[in-house]
């Protein structure tokens, strides 16, 4: 049975339909990429799953996580699920971090809340988590403030926080877009390793076909809130069927760094 099953999901904000009858399914441990450009509704789909849509958004359809319907759940229930079953990494890591709280405390918080660790256990676990996401000198990192870290380090902290409770589903919304290429490469490798290690299912949201091709077996393409094509990443890239996917692939090739005949 699939871990995440989205059927006929529509999101309307202020009278405009921004997500239009989207259906997706994700098995445990599977990786699915959601590809689209700005305004395609890819981020809103992710936020709908997390129950984090802005107030005033009308959501219809169904989102099931492990068989449990998420739409219509209360805030308390949703925030428990967010801690234990699903987690999210954002594009701008700073936005997910509290600027007034030391890194260690931010890492320890979900552990105390959702895994019932006491203060000391949680702070030891925080150092372990920091080490696990490859942060250099984890003992020092947990005592730093968010603004003292580089963009790549912050994103690692974001990932560590998301994976702290070993969620079954990780949603990553453009997690490497704000990073430099060399940092992005390290980050993608790390994400790949950790997701594999924990058997976490990954919903990876990106505009970058080349990045998606590195990380995910399957991909779905969104345009103007509608799902236009879905399939294995390989097929999508090699033989795109929908004109929009074709255009995306063509554009990616035209601006990409493959050798081209000059």
């Amino acid at each position: 049975m699939s871990l995440l099953k989205i059927t006929d999901l529509s999101v309307r904000i202020g009278g405009t339909t921004v997500v239009d009858e989207v259906g997706l399914a994700l098995d445990p441990g599977e990786r699915l990429a959601l590809i689209g450009e700005s305004g395609s509704g890819k981020s809103l789909t992710a936020l709908a799953v997390m129950g984090l849509l802005p107030g005033g958004a009308e959501v219809t359809g169904s989102i099931r996580l492990g068989g449990q319907e998420l739409l219509g759940l209360g805030d308390r229930e949703l925030s428990r699920l967010r801690g234990e079953r699903m987690a999210m990494v954002f594009q701008e890591p700073m936005s997910a971090l509290n600027p007034l709280m030391r890194i260690g405390k931010q890492l320890a918080e979900p552990l105390r809340l959702h895994r019932g660790l006491n203060r000391r256990q949680a702070s030891t676990a925080a150092v372990e988590l920091a080490a696990q996401v490859g942060l250099p000198d984890p003992e020092l990192i947990v005592r730093s403030w968010p603004h003292q870290l580089s963009g790549g380090q912050r994103q690692r902290v974001g990932l560590a926080m998301a994976l702290a409770t070993r969620p079954a589903l990780l949603i990553a919304d453009e997690p490497t877009t704000a990073l430099d290429v060399t940092v992005q490469a390290d980050m993608l490798r790390l994400l790949d390793d950790l997701v594999q290690q924990h058997g976490t299912a990954l919903l990876f949201i990106s505009h970058d076909l080349a990045v998606v091709a590195q990380l995910c077996q399957r991909a779905a393409v969104l345009k103007d809130g509608r799902l236009v094509e879905e399939g294995t990443t390989d097929t999508l890239v090699r033989t795109p069927q929908h004109p929009y996917t074709q255009r995306l692939v063509e554009a990616a090739r035209a601006t990409g760094s493959e050798e081209v005949a000059r």
Partner: protein, 261 residues
């Protein structure tokens, strides 16, 4: 090929804000002893990651910032940052397109005022309104948009407006500071094609600052790789990208994600 824009030993450092009242002032070298030579008709890509100093270098080359040491020459005439009137000759020849097409257009100015700005500032002769219409057409916009405001356009259209402004004085050299980075993939391909076309149509010499090796590969004949303010590698694009010598260039190229062929 004659040399158009030449930099010799450019250096620029910035004083960082003090972390404490008693801490000594810390300086950061953004650009360290960089020299380059942009030949007529060539395309030079300055590649680097954030903090490499590539944007500072572009500003120095555009005489928008004063180097601590080193010189910039345009056609063997020294370019010194200073009074705008003394730089009019240089600004007519060298123009820039910046990264964020929203940020680089004044939200309270009309398209006409934006595109005509260099014409007015550089006191170029001729009918400015006609010229604005012609420029808008050349970047693929309908001249009827001249009375509208930047927020009424999409990112790609805004970047077209910024390009029209840069082309207004009929420059020889077009400097692009990450001109495609803020755009969606499909739009990026369109603007890339536009830049390509315009370069050919107007015989422009390109100087492109970018973190995106793909873009540089498509538009440039030469590459300069920057890291921590230093030019670590410099040479023809074909050889540098195919056979990088410096370890950092190799790491950078290896990190770029590629589509399966």
């Amino acid at each position: 090929m004659t040399s158009l824009l030449r930099a010799d030993g450019l250096s620029r450092s910035f004083r960082l804000p003090r972390t404490s009242l008693f801490a000594p002032a810390v300086h950061r070298d953004a650009v360290r002893d960089v020299s380059l030579d942009l030949k007529e008709g060539a395309g030079l890509g300055i590649v680097g990651e954030s903090g490499s100093g590539k944007s500072t270098l572009a500003r120095l080359l555009l005489a928008l910032d004063r180097p601590d040491s080193g010189t910039v020459h345009y056609r063997d005439r020294e370019v010194r940052p200073g009074a705008p009137r003394k730089l009019t000759w240089f600004r007519r020849e060298v123009q820039v397109v910046l990264q964020d097409p929203m940020g680089s257009l004044d939200p309270r100015a009309t398209v006409r005022d934006i595109v005509a700005e260099p014409l007015e500032c550089l006191r170029l002769p001729g009918d400015h309104d006609d010229r604005v219409d012609e420029l808008l057409r050349s970047v693929g916009l309908d001249p009827s948009v001249r009375g509208r405001y930047p927020h009424e356009f999409s990112g790609g259209q805004r970047q077209r407006i910024a390009i029209a402004r840069a082309l207004a004085p009929g420059p020889k050299v077009l400097v692009g500071d990450e001109p495609l980075s803020a755009l969606d993939v499909s739009v990026r391909a369109q603007i890339l094609a536009l830049l390509n076309d315009l370069t050919e149509a107007y015989g422009l010499t390109l100087l492109l600052v970018s973190h995106d090796i793909g873009v540089v590969r498509h538009l440039c004949t030469d590459v300069l790789v920057m890291k921590d303010g230093l030019a670590v590698e410099q040479g023809p694009a074909a050889s540098v990208l195919a056979d990088p010598q410096h370890p950092y260039t190799r790491r950078l190229l290896a990190a770029v994600p590629r589509l399966p062929a």
